[in-house]
């Protein structure tokens, strides 16, 4: 397979309420930054794939809101409704198909403009679940309880994730919520839905992110620091929560196995230098580290306790502060890719993992992590 690289990324300040900015403003800023980092102009972008969600945006053709702002005028363009990691995959195939040399992938979301309970309640089946009033937090709590019960993971172990990620956020200027926390702080925070407490949950955020993909020969002309896509895989689990064993994440295992296979990764714990995963809730980081094969089943709690996933640890996880520090929904996975790219380019500033050569980025769609997309990037 021909090689495709990421040649530039753009992120914007993630905030609770970017009242000065529309979706288009955010997308324009992220796109402009990505172009600046790549050192190219909009004319060198041959096609665009955007990622957005009609419910979060309050518009039924959400891509329309940002058409102009991502420089797609007079270009070929498409839209993935889902997390940016999936859009990036599609953007990559549009290069591998031979059709385009470069693709801009851009994602946005403004949590401030809607009531997340309504938006996430709409994920659930209108006939069987929606009228129960279930939303993303309630459903995640069902998963968290199942996972904790099955494997004896403790709430304190989950809290360690929150402490770590909010702490990491101090070193990431784009993060929304740097917080100096102890486990006790998390444990004392307001219970939302047992066992998920306020500080176990991600915030409401506004943000956007853009990345630029290019075919190898073009990538090499654009930058001397291309970040190669070594592997990518995605996979969806069953939909009804009761059809799934919520303590497991088979879809993530399958997706990561595909990505590892494609990328020639045999021992992820050893071969990955940094992991940016989709930690919408603290328990999810533990569960996803298991699904990614960074530790055995049920050992996510032990992994975080060991300190191995700290920035100075053996396998740093979410040095950016993750979703717990800023949750831009459809953009959040693309931010994980952007963060991984920054790490591999040596451009992650104060949250740089020194010498990072191989990184994993992860995105999620659907309730309780129904569908996962895993990226392996390398230099």
């Amino acid at each position: 397979m021909e090689r495709v690289a990421i040649v530039g990324v753009g992120q914007i300040q993630q905030e609770r309420n970017k009242v000065q900015d529309t979706f288009a403003d955010m997308v324009f800023e992220a796109t402009t930054k990505a172009l600046e980092q790549a050192g190219i102009g909009i004319r060198q972008i041959e096609n665009v794939v955007s990622a957005s969600n009609d419910f979060w945006d309050g518009r039924t053709i959400s891509s329309m809101a940002i058409n102009d702002a991502c420089g797609s005028y007079d270009k070929n363009i498409s839209c993935v409704e889902g997390d940016g990691t999936f859009a990036a995959f599609y953007g990559m195939t549009r290069i591998l198909s031979g059709a385009y040399d470069t693709t801009l992938v851009v994602a946005h979301c403004k949590g401030s403009e809607s009531h997340s309970a309504h938006i996430t309640n709409a994920m659930f089946d209108p006939l069987y679940v929606r009228s129960l009033g279930v939303d993303s937090i309630g459903s995640a709590a069902l998963q968290a309880r199942r996972y904790l019960d099955r494997y004896g993971i403790t709430e304190e172990q989950c809290a360690l994730v929150s402490v770590k990620n909010h702490g990491n956020a101090f070193r990431n200027p784009c993060a929304q919520l740097p917080l100096k926390l102890t486990v006790a702080d998390v444990m004392k925070s307001r219970m939302l839905a047992d066992p998920i407490k306020l500080l176990d949950a991600s915030p409401i955020s506004d943000g956007a992110c853009a990345i630029i993909l290019a075919r190898e020969p073009v990538a090499r002309k654009i930058t001397d620091r291309p970040v190669w896509i070594r592997g990518v895989g995605y996979c969806a689990d069953a939909y009804h929560l009761g059809d799934r064993d919520l303590a497991e994440c088979d879809a993530l295992s399958k997706a990561s196995q595909k990505a590892y296979q494609m990328g020639g990764i045999r021992n992820p714990r050893k071969e990955l230098d940094v992991v940016e995963l989709y930690d919408a809730f603290s328990y999810q980081e533990l569960l996803w580290t298991e699904g990614l094969g960074l530790c055995g089943r049920g050992e996510g709690g032990k992994l975080v306790e060991s300190g191995a996933t700290q920035m100075k640890g053996e396998i740093p996880v979410t040095p950016s502060g993750g979703l717990l520090s800023a949750h831009t929904v459809t953009a959040a996975g693309l931010v994980r890719i952007a963060e991984a790219v920054l790490q591999l380019r040596g451009g992650a500033g104060e949250h740089q993992i020194p010498g990072a050569k191989t990184a994993l980025a992860h995105g999620v769609n659907g309730p309780c992590g129904q569908s996962h997309c895993v990226w392996i990037l390398g230099v």
Binding site: A117, S131, L142, R146, M191, A238, H240
Partner: protein
């Protein structure tokens, strides 16, 4: 760009109002009619893998074929997982704090998401045995089951 410093950032408040009439389909309709008229809970079995789906499905996702026999399940079941939601949102059918659970009804392979009620919230544990409590007046919706409550020990 000085004008940016003095701009009044306006916010436009609005709501989307789109009414929906979802087709339940024949399979779902049978399930809801049974709830409404007979206070019975039905599942549907895939004859390929023998999975009994509750709520019933017209097709089995794994075998990718039509499901076969209707199977009465429950009424009792086992609690697979639960949570107690402490915050209020406009969509909750009962006042917070409220408990949700995923209940595997006897004879079903899958779990049903529903409310737990008439229960000491502190005493809820996975593995509890539960039974449905039906509304007096039923309309053919999932809320014809008011909630699941713990089975009283003999």
């Amino acid at each position: 760009m000085d004008w940016l410093a003095n701009v009044e950032a306006m916010v436009h408040h609005s709501r989307i109002k789109v009414p929906y009439t979802w087709s339940v389909g024949e399979t779902g309709s049978r399930f809801f009619v049974e709830l409404r008229d007979h206070r019975r809970i039905l599942g549907r079995r895939c004859e390929g893998c023998r999975t009994v789906y509750v709520p019933p499905r017209k097709m089995c996702a794994r075998c990718f074929q039509d499901t076969g026999a209707w199977v009465e399940v429950g009424p009792e079941g086992t609690l697979l997982t639960y949570t107690i939601v402490r915050y209020a949102n406009e969509l909750q059918p009962v006042k917070a704090p409220l408990a949700y659970g995923i209940i595997q009804l006897d004879g079903a392979s899958t779990g049903l998401v529903h409310l737990l009620g008439d229960v000491d919230l502190k005493a809820i544990r996975s593995g509890m045995r539960l039974a449905p409590v039906f509304q007096e007046k039923r309309a053919g919706t999932i809320l014809d089951i008011a909630y699941f409550q713990p089975v009283k020990a003999a």
